[in-house]
């Protein structure tokens, strides 16, 4: 068993545990702290998978921006930011766990575990070149989506409706 596999196993366990904790703890602020750990952990997995640019992006966008946005959302919608959630229905929880089991069985039943095991390192410069030539359309599409999303968000929160 290689060192990489050990590192991945530890990071995978941390990812699943922090993801579950984020959804199960009662304090909303604790949820956001756990989900921040989850994002940093995924960034570590990206570094392990030879995707350093994506790892840095994950740290900046998710662990930085999204976490702060979520904290801001909690801050402006609560009188006290430490607030306990009401308990939820047990039936929906059972349904969610059943879906999780189906996904797990589907994964284990396939031939995925004889999948290729060679990592392909690359130069970050190649990725940036690709983003401006072959996959440039995706970036333009993302820019247009972000612009319309910005307009939509401003429309939603504007003052003086009705």
């Amino acid at each position: 068993v290689s060192l990489e596999l050990w590192a991945f196993a530890v990071l995978a366990v941390v990812a699943v545990v922090t993801g579950l904790l984020a959804l199960l703890v009662r304090e909303l602020v604790h949820t956001i702290l756990w989900v921040a750990v989850f994002f940093v952990d995924l960034a570590a997995i990206y570094f392990l998978l030879e995707a350093p640019f994506l790892g840095v992006l994950q740290l900046g966008v998710y662990a930085g921006a999204v976490t702060i946005l979520l904290l801001f959302g909690v801050m402006v919608t609560r009188k006290r930011i430490f607030f306990r959630e009401a308990t939820t229905g047990i039936g929906a929880g059972a349904l969610g766990l059943a879906l999780l089991a189906i996904v797990l069985v589907a994964t284990a039943g396939s031939a995925l575990f004889s999948a290729p095991a060679t990592l392909h390192p690359y130069a970050v410069a190649d990725l940036s070149q690709l983003l401006f030539t072959q996959d440039g359309g995706w970036l333009v599409l993302l820019g247009l989506t972000m612009l319309s999303a910005l307009a939509g968000a401003i429309f939603l929160v504007r003052e003086g409706r009705e």
Binding site: E4, A51, L54, Y62, A92, G93, F113
Partner: protein
């Protein structure tokens, strides 16, 4: 399995998707719902990274395309959080609560 392979990463991705689905189905707080969607979205991005890392560029640029799409997806997820929080603020102002059960204006 003696070495890190694509199956292990795809398995983790599937489990994280399950965790996200679990959150989407059980939580009633809009912000928790957003976080659950983010976890599911991260599972999808991890899928693209895994395929990009393990398929490599066999002649073409398959491997890097996976990462290029992942870059776009990260931006898309951030956009989605911004719009989601705008909805949270609007819902909070209209109903005084961010429980998704209260948003029933479109019900027949």
């Amino acid at each position: 399995v003696s070495d890190l392979n694509a199956g292990a990463v795809l398995g983790l991705s599937a489990v994280l998707l399950g965790v996200g689905l679990f959150g989407i189905l059980t939580r009633r707080n809009f912000i928790l719902l957003l976080i659950a969607i983010e976890i599911a979205m991260n599972a999808a991005i991890l899928n693209f990274v895994a395929f990009g890392a393990f398929l490599g560029n066999g002649g073409g640029t398959v491997g890097l395309s996976g990462q290029a799409i992942a870059v776009v997806l990260v931006g898309l997820a951030a956009t989605e959080v911004a719009v989601g929080l705008a909805i949270v603020l609007a819902l909070n102002r209209l109903k005084g609560s961010i429980n998704v059960g209260e948003a029933t204006s479109l019900k027949l």
